[in-house]
Symmetry: C2
Subunit: 221 residues, 2 copies
Amino acid sequence: MACQRTQDLANFVFEGKKIIGVALNYMCAVKARNVPVPTVPIVFIKPTTSYLREGHPIVLPKVFTKVAYEVELGVVIGTRCKNVSKEKAMEFVGGYCLALDLTAQCNLTAARAAGGSWTLGKGFDTATPVSRFIPKDAIEDPHMLPLWLKVNGEIKQKGCTADLVFKVPDIISYVSKYMTLEPNDLLLTGTPHGSDAFQAGDLIECGLADLATMKFNVCAE
Amino acid sequence: MACQRTQDLANFVFEGKKIIGVALNYMCAVKARNVPVPTVPIVFIKPTTSYLREGHPIVLPKVFTKVAYEVELGVVIGTRCKNVSKEKAMEFVGGYCLALDLTAQCNLTAARAAGGSWTLGKGFDTATPVSRFIPKDAIEDPHMLPLWLKVNGEIKQKGCTADLVFKVPDIISYVSKYMTLEPNDLLLTGTPHGSDAFQAGDLIECGLADLATMKFNVCAE
Ligand SMILES: [Mg+2]
Ligand SMILES: [Mg+2]
Ligand SMILES: [Mg+2]
């Protein structure tokens, strides 16, 4: 049964129906930006058409002028749930992945200033590169994982999930007050300090502990 | 083949992976609110876990104090597409439905004021009641459809899709510049003037021309 479930979740990119992200969720990023620590998770949604697997390039939409990298721990939901307590939340995790939450800051900054939606700035095609599925059993503690990102060989982000403002159970508990989480849904837990713009021609590499690395070429649309 | 496709799309509620809404898309609503006419569609995304079919109640989440009805024409995508011209856009429509785009105005108003995401205010469970699938052939012109909504028998919204600021091809063309549209994706085209709060115990009824009616009881979580 456990084998069967893990096998199924390995296809989360094809089977999943939603991606829920959390913004401003690393203490290092909160401090660097000198903003108040969020009191609840700042939640947004991305379409599954934004998924990208290794071997295909990140395509920068011609409508955008500034797109930024954000390296993140992804959490794949294993079991349908709603209104879950923090205490029980980890039971509904099926596994993990390494992810990028690419963000068109040009669009998002303008949208936020006008009270607009984050959808286009977060949801464009190729905006969510992900690694292979990492089974739950492979990670003893998801809040002790180093993660890093390089652009053209130069280190740009270096953090640890110990620095998360809202931990995995906090996020699952909070989001599931509002919406049902389904198997193969992905949670993006936020990015450490250092997120910045990249451009066509760049090579982006990132890693999560000794569990996953991935690299993507960037091209213009 | 056409039969096969329509058959498939009848299950858009179960097979679809995204719901894309357009805000402030009726001229009557723009005029009533005395705001500028949008120059591009104001696009947001809802998860498919927000779908609701007739026979089940709308459940008002206990975390919200003000949830509003919005009656809308839904457009079901029939064929995968990206970067579609307005001229070709209707080729990618597979059919339609009558829909409600329920909105937690308490949450959305606060989010917008703070530059926050629309996700929770638009994406809660039962926030997207929909009718049965209406095949494309049943509607000669999607921009000539009256739609209405009653609360407890009293008419609250009455409009016509002729009043859309951005027509169906405009929406498909615009959204598909950013993200791929897939078969069974749903587009919510916006709501006419008159959207307002409702509460537990209410009965909501709505209709689209002589093509669909639906009714939902409202209960508290
Ligand atoms: Mg992020
Ligand atoms: Mg949003
Ligand atoms: Mg609406």
